[in-house]
Symmetry: C2
Subunit: 290 residues, 2 copies
């Protein structure tokens, strides 16, 4: 990429503007964008104008900017996020229709868990999980499941980082965490009673993909009361196994009899059986303008 | 942005790489990326390497690339896409639990409808709608609703473009389309019997936002049979009104008694009532590494 005299590339400046936005900072004016991105005001003006031209940013009537729908559209072609979410979605809905609290799917990103989906009932228990949001591995039940199956070096790195204390119940000492992770590996599930909020309980199981690797954590967040947890664990384990089966079918070569229908769409799309059969050959208009 | 000797900016080349990917082309190797982006191979190599550094692309074991989870994460802060989808989601789920076919939400992007969400049952009728995918306005029921409420000049532009013929039933003549749009405005809903596939019927209603503007089309795709359509129209109209109410509450100033809880999160997040109350003040770890 072309580099400015400062040695920073053009793309790095675009990334600085992107990451100036956050889940609680979705509308920003030029000054705020400049401050939050760390870019000079004139540079911010120039980059923002070009990003707006490409639809990556949208200017609002009040002269603030928000991330553009075009960015979201491009990002919808991400198999690791939208694809996994699409394949898991029918099973998340099935869990949610039984539990009627929060049902969510998270993946390991850096040293955190990134949530791809959360389904919630209006009267469900308090829960800080956001779609596209992250939580620390040691505190969330999905994160604990992912951490339990990570290698020793990765666990060591996490233990030596900030182990944020959300509540009195958050497990913070590396020794206690090591014992907890061992138990999670042995049991095949994680339960966090009040680790993030005193009123909430997280229950999570691992989701396996191709080559038996752990690709995600599937969890529910329910009230932290004396209700039995094992029925929820069994429900999650059934859904997890079903997601694995659909993932394997989506990634099996198309000429294999075990392969899911949908041709080149299989890894990004989950729709009805008839739709998946039809999609690869469906007529599509040409799109000269894009 | 810094420009190469060719006059194209660095960001425009990044966009060319982004748009090389498509819903049916999610894994591409360097040669394919070069051909599909129209960039020289050496340039493609350089840009792809930098995009990979930022997590915008991910290299697979087979040396193909896919769009990165980091891109999806950034795009999750788009109020116009994820925010609208979050606010609409409980109402989409409620429609889907009754209809058990396909329930979807689409917005106007350029001269097409872009779908933010689709919920589908496994045994639902054939349907070509994809999350993050587009359909022409004249053929999809959501698109027709959006087109019916657009101004004359916009409609004229659409009529003079390609009016792709999916089936014998697709309405193609501008005169017939004008009459259809008039009927849709009068009725308050659109019905497309076999416009995209002979077996499928689309039924859509408009969703209004702030200042009574139409912000989306809410639709179901059901079998194209002799079942009555009016109960589905009424179900969609109820859900649409509920989405509008939640949208208005999310965009009402926080100090107004009608305002939704959730503070700065309201426009991007929809969770349980307790969660929305809690989110603005919830403790969050610092994230030095990002």
């Amino acid at each position: 990429m072309a580099r400015s005299s400062g040695g920073r590339s053009a793309l790095s400046r675009v990334m600085q503007v992107f990451t100036a936005f956050d889940v609680d900072a979705v509308f920003l004016n030029i000054s705020q964008l400049s401050v939050r991105s760390g870019l000079p005001l004139a540079t911010t003006h120039r980059i923002v104008a070009e990003m707006e031209d490409f639809g990556l940013l949208e200017r609002q009537p009040d002269k603030t900017y928000r991330l553009g729908v075009r960015l979201w559209e491009i990002a919808c072609r991400t198999p690791g996020a939208l694809g996994l979410r699409e394949i898991a979605m029918p099973h998340l809905q099935s869990v949610q229709s039984r539990v009627r609290q929060h049902t969510q799917l998270g993946i390991l990103e850096g040293q955190e868990v990134l949530f791809l989906e959360r389904l919630s009932a209006r009267d469900a228990v308090v829960n800080v999980t956001l779609v596209g949001g992250r939580l620390p591995l040691h505190a969330s039940s999905s994160g604990l499941v992912l951490l339990a199956h990570a290698d020793d070096e990765f666990q060591h790195d996490v233990f030596s980082g900030e182990l944020f204390r959300y509540t009195e119940q958050t497990v913070q000492s590396p020794d206690a965490l090591r014992r907890l992770l061992q138990k999670i590996r042995r049991d095949g599930f994680a339960i966090g009673n009040g680790f993030i909020h005193p009123d909430a309980r997280g229950i999570a199981v691992p989701v396996r993909g191709v080559n038996d690797t752990i690709v995600a954590g599937l969890s529910v967040v329910v009230p932290n009361d004396d209700a039995p947890t094992l029925p929820l664990v069994r429900l999650l384990q059934g859904a997890s196994a079903a997601i694995t089966q659909d993932l394997l079918a989506a990634y099996t070569p198309p000429n294999d009899p075990q392969s899911a229908p949908g041709g080149r769409f299989r890894q990004l799309v989950s729709s009805s059986a008839d739709s998946m059969e039809y999609l690869p050959t469906a007529p599509r208009p040409t799109r000269a303008g894009r």
